[in-house]
């Protein structure tokens, strides 16, 4: 087990009284804490401690939904594209993510203008920081600009975040600059190569330096200061610290004036020194500062690690890591838990989403894109989604069926079927068990139908039973139910010979439950009296034969076998057969049973 990097955070549970013992139980995303009776008799409250409140913010929800859309799009980028095209696409996806963050920020600011004491004010600084870090990562890692354009991108980055300050500075500079300075702003990336530019820049730099040494600007103090800034004189720059509110602004400014052709690999020297120079009054750098420094050092893993610790919610690290992984920038090293970094973060994020009553649907797509453990996580989590209405159950079922999670399908259908059964909605229960292909349950429900019939004398839910089609073969009992209902239908339509044939097949197929034998017998008797049946040559005798077997078996079952019963039975059968055939009692031999 690794040592902890930081002290564990302490969360106070305001409702729990002092001095009481607290027990707890882990949930999928939350912890349930309760007061126990160890010391004095306490009250029995259960407190739910939520790890992550961010997912409950209505404005941040838009972030989650929109970024989900981008995430799904990212996963479908084809692997076989040439890397140049892919890079442009990745950069544009990164910009998409950032624009979503900015849209969130703008909306937050609008809300705060109307309600300044809104709780969500804490998200403003978090979103600002997130966007800052993401932008820097885009410049350094995804866009991976070489020396030359690198500085331009860094300039843009700083400008984006310190817009107004830079405006002022630019005005000041441009109002004084001679023509050469215009050339200066035509920075590399255009028509010149890096070395050409470097030579020109050094030439210019020496000239300005010489002007300073010559004291040619001594008369105008402002001009002299500006010149010193242009030369990159650190002390002058530091004197104007309040214009450069942050050390990274200082860094980019210094690079602009001293080392415009800085290479990516040299960045971290300057970053470290700038940070030290700028922050000399403060002792410890803030988390944001160390994250940015790690980025300048191109230590991606450190960036991700620090962000994971600093931020409450996994959204940022999960999406950024996923994007970097697609850019093939993460070395794959296995974590102690077996999956790689990207998958671990996505799983954490998605598990957090699953605890939300509404956002669980987004989590499904994230699990889908975690090849090693995603399926297992989904299987465990999807069963916990509460199923209040049939519509929700159908949606969850669709998710399970699309991923061949047959266990979960069966489990969900069984829950819904039991609920329907409890509310006496037999038809609904039957449809659910058919959907799950659950033979045992279908048998149970068919029994209920048959019991209903015995109790009331009529069937309920005829439309469902009449229209099952091949689904009726799911279970024997169900087949019997359908066929029995068909028998009744035929009888009602006066199609007696067909009815008799059906009844015969029902009896011979032996799928009738024992409890139903009496009923079948009772049904058969009026049939035998129908002219249609009795005049057809073959049928009635077969019917009679089988009925006789049935009766015999039934009586033996009820009363046991004995000589007396045998005799009684034989004479009974003889009598009725003769009566039926219109013969006298002596006209028939003993039937073989």
């Amino acid at each position: 087990m690794e040592e902890l990097d930081v002290e564990p955070a302490i969360t106070n549970i305001p409702a729990a009284s002092d001095g009481k013992h607290l027990g707890f139980a882990w949930g999928p995303g939350d912890i349930l804490a309760y007061e126990t009776l160890y010391m004095a008799p306490g009250c029995s409250f259960i407190h739910e401690v939520r790890k992550d409140e961010d997912i409950y913010s209505p404005i941040l929800r838009k972030l989650f939904n929109e970024s989900h859309h981008i995430f799904v799009g990212l996963q479908t980028i084809r692997e076989d594209l040439p890397s140049k095209n892919k890079k442009t696409q990745f950069v544009s996806i990164s910009k998409n993510y950032r624009s979503v963050i900015r849209a969130c920020m703008e909306e937050l600011q609008q809300v705060l203008q109307k309600w300044p004491r809104n709780m969500e004010i804490r998200y403003v600084s978090i979103l600002l920081a997130i966007e800052l870090i993401w932008n820097l990562c885009e410049v350094l890692f995804i866009d991976a600009a070489p020396a030359g354009p690198l500085l331009l991108h860094l300039l843009d980055w700083v400008r984006l975040h310190k817009g107004d300050v830079d405006e002022k500075a630019r005005e000041v500079l441009q109002s004084e600059s001679p023509a050469e300075h215009h050339d200066y702003w035509d920075v590399p990336g255009g028509t010149q190569t890096l070395t050409e530019f470097d030579v020109k820049w050094r030439h210019w730099h020496e000239e300005v330096d010489r002007c300073l040494q010559d004291n040619s600007f001594a008369s105008n103090q402002h001009l002299e200061i500006i010149c010193k800034i242009l030369v990159g004189d650190e002390d002058t720059l530091l004197e104007h610290k309040e214009l450069l509110s942050t050390w990274y602004h200082f860094l980019v400014t210094r690079l602009l004036f001293c080392h415009p052709t800085v290479k990516p690999t040299e960045l971290h020297y300057y970053a470290q020194s700038c940070m030290t120079m700028f922050l000399d009054l403060r002792s410890v750098p803030e988390p944001l500062d160390s994250i940015l420094l790690a980025a300048f050092e191109f230590d991606i893993h450190q960036v991700i690690k620090d962000c994971s610790i600093a931020l409450n919610n996994w959204w940022f690290v999960a999406h950024l890591t996923d994007l970097l992984d697609h850019c093939k920038l993460l070395q794959s090293h296995n974590l102690h838990f077996g999956s790689n970094l990207r998958e671990f973060l996505l799983l954490e994020y998605a598990s957090g989403l699953f605890t939300h009553h509404s956002l669980w649907q987004l989590a499904v797509d994230y699990f889908d894109n975690c090849p090693e453990f995603g399926h297992v996580y989904l299987e465990l989590q999807i069963e916990r989604v509460p199923l209040d209405t049939e519509r929700k159950a159908l949606k969850v079922l669709r998710i399970c069926e699309q991923r061949q999670m047959s266990e979960q399908v069966r489990s969900i259908c069984k829950i819904m079927a039991m609920r329907a059964l409890r509310n006496n909605r037999l038809g609904s229960a039957l449809s659910w068990s058919i959907r799950a292909k659950d033979a045992a349950f279908a048998t149970l429900i068919s029994e209920r139908f048959l019991q209903d019939y015995c109790a009331r004398g009529t069937f309920s839910d005829l439309d469902l039973i009449d229209n099952l089609g091949p689904a009726m073969l799911l279970s024997d009992r169900l087949t019997f139910l359908v066929k029995y209902r068909e028998f009744h239908k035929l009888y009602e339509e006066n199609r007696f010979s067909e009815a008799a044939k059906l009844l015969l097949s029902l009896i011979t197929a032996k799928i009738a439950p024992r409890s139903f034998w009496m009923t079948l017998l009772t049904d058969a008797l009026p049939l035998l009296e129908q002219k249609e049946v009795s005049h057809s040559a073959h049928c009635p005798y077969l019917l009679l034969y089988h009925l006789t077997c049935l009766v015999y078996g039934f009586i033996v079952f009820c009363y046991g076998s004995s000589c007396k019963v045998d005799q009684l039975l034989t004479s009974l059968i003889k009598e009725s057969v003769c009566r039926f055939a219109g013969l006298g009692p002596e006209g028939l031999g003993t039937p073989k049973v």
Binding site: R61, K62, H68, E390, K395, N424, R425, D463, G469
Partner: protein, 352 residues
């Protein structure tokens, strides 16, 4: 395809409906209502797209829909209909039916009338799955298999049809003023629940349904229990089907698979289709008869539709696959739909 912008609204949308516009004015609709589901606090909301009578805009999507007002709703909003210009009736997963009134002047919503727990089991609430209204009469159906009739201004329930079915009734629509059609099951080799139904605006015997397997079926209710035509529409449950109210050659369907389809049927030949019926039997898929009762002007092209015959065109209306599209509504040239991705899409230039 024009770009359709999504408006993210921080709630999963279960129903969207346009506010009806008066037939006399040629205005495009400008206000729609939405209901949410699967939230701890569900809401109904009214939105405006700011179409104040200016037709003939080139720009299809001037701005996002703006939220006018919203109100808390107890339970998921399972169905929502406009009763008239100011009132909507909603049905809830708690089995309640509520009428809300939208006060345009103050942009507020108030509860006008409520019937709590009308759909229920002996020991539990039953979600109320569908509603249809023809002011002042309201008919609702629910998972308990009951059909309940109300009047908008009366306290109690007018009529309850118990045990209309032992399964859940998913949807309901008016056939004629005195008949309603409810929507449960259908068979064509397999037993599948139907989720939505809509009646042809001009020809009352034609009904379109969508079901669990994503198949679009068109039925003639006078003729038996098999559908007239069957079209494979979606790869998952179809949640809503709508004929365009004024241009019924157009049909719209939306589904769990995240797509919204626009179906357009057309006759290619010069001859009106009712004359072709007798001679060209291959065009008519299931039924071979012209309708008895000779006053029918046209056999609707829907009844002879078969997607392979090239008389039916289908277009996707959303740019890319999203999470389930739960609901859509179309009026005039405007289409609105809501998804499980917590987004609303509005298209103001539907080609009808």
């Amino acid at each position: 395809m024009e770009s359709v912008n999504a408006k993210y609204v921080s709630q999963k949308i279960s129903k969207t409906r346009w506010r009806p516009v008066s037939h006399s004015s040629l205005q495009q609709p400008d206000i729609f209502a939405t209901g949410s589901w699967d939230n701890e606090d569900n809401k109904i909301s009214f939105w405006s797209i700011g179409n104040h009578g200016s037709s003939g805009m080139d720009e299809g999507f001037e701005g996002d829909p703006q939220l006018l007002c919203e109100h808390k709703h107890d339970g998921d909003v399972l169905d929502l209909q406009f009763l008239d210009q100011d009132r909507i009736v909603t049905t809830s997963s708690t089995g309640a039916v509520t009428i809300f009134r939208h006060h345009q002047n103050s942009q507020t919503i108030s509860v006008s009338q409520r019937w709590p727990r009308v759909h229920r089991y002996p020991c539990d609430n039953a979600p109320c799955t569908g509603v249809v209204c023809s002011s002042p009469e309201i008919v609702t159906v629910g998972e308990d298999g009951k059909i309940i009739v109300f009047r908008a201004d009366q306290e109690g329930v007018i009529r309850v049809i118990e045990n209309a079915d032992s399964s859940t009734i998913h949807a309901v629509t008016y056939l004629r003023t005195t008949e309603i059609l409810t929507c449960i099951l259908y068979l064509d080799d397999v037993l599948l629940p139907l989720h939505c139904v809509d009646r042809h605006p001009n020809q009352q015997h034609i009904v379109a349904t969508g079901g669990q397997d994503g198949m679009l079926c068109v039925w003639d209710v006078r003729q038996g229990s098999t559908p007239f035509s069957l079209m494979e529409a979606h790869s998952a449950e179809m949640w809503e089907v709508h004929f365009h109210p004024t241009n019924p050659d157009h049909l719209f369907t939306c589904s769990e698979d995240g797509s919204l389809l626009h179906w357009e049927t057309s006759t290619h030949s010069d001859m009106p289709s009712f004359l072709q019926g007798g001679r060209n039997n291959s065009m008519i898929s299931r039924s071979a008869m012209a309708p008895a009762g000779g006053n029918q002007s046209l056999i609707s092209t829907w009844l002879s539709g078969d997607s392979s015959k090239g008389r039916l065109e289908t277009t996707h209306m959303l740019p890319s696959q999203t999470l389930s599209v739960n609901s859509l509504d179309v009026l005039g040239q405007c289409l609105v739909c809501g998804t499980d991705g917590e987004a609303i899409f509005v298209n103001r230039q539907v080609p009808v």
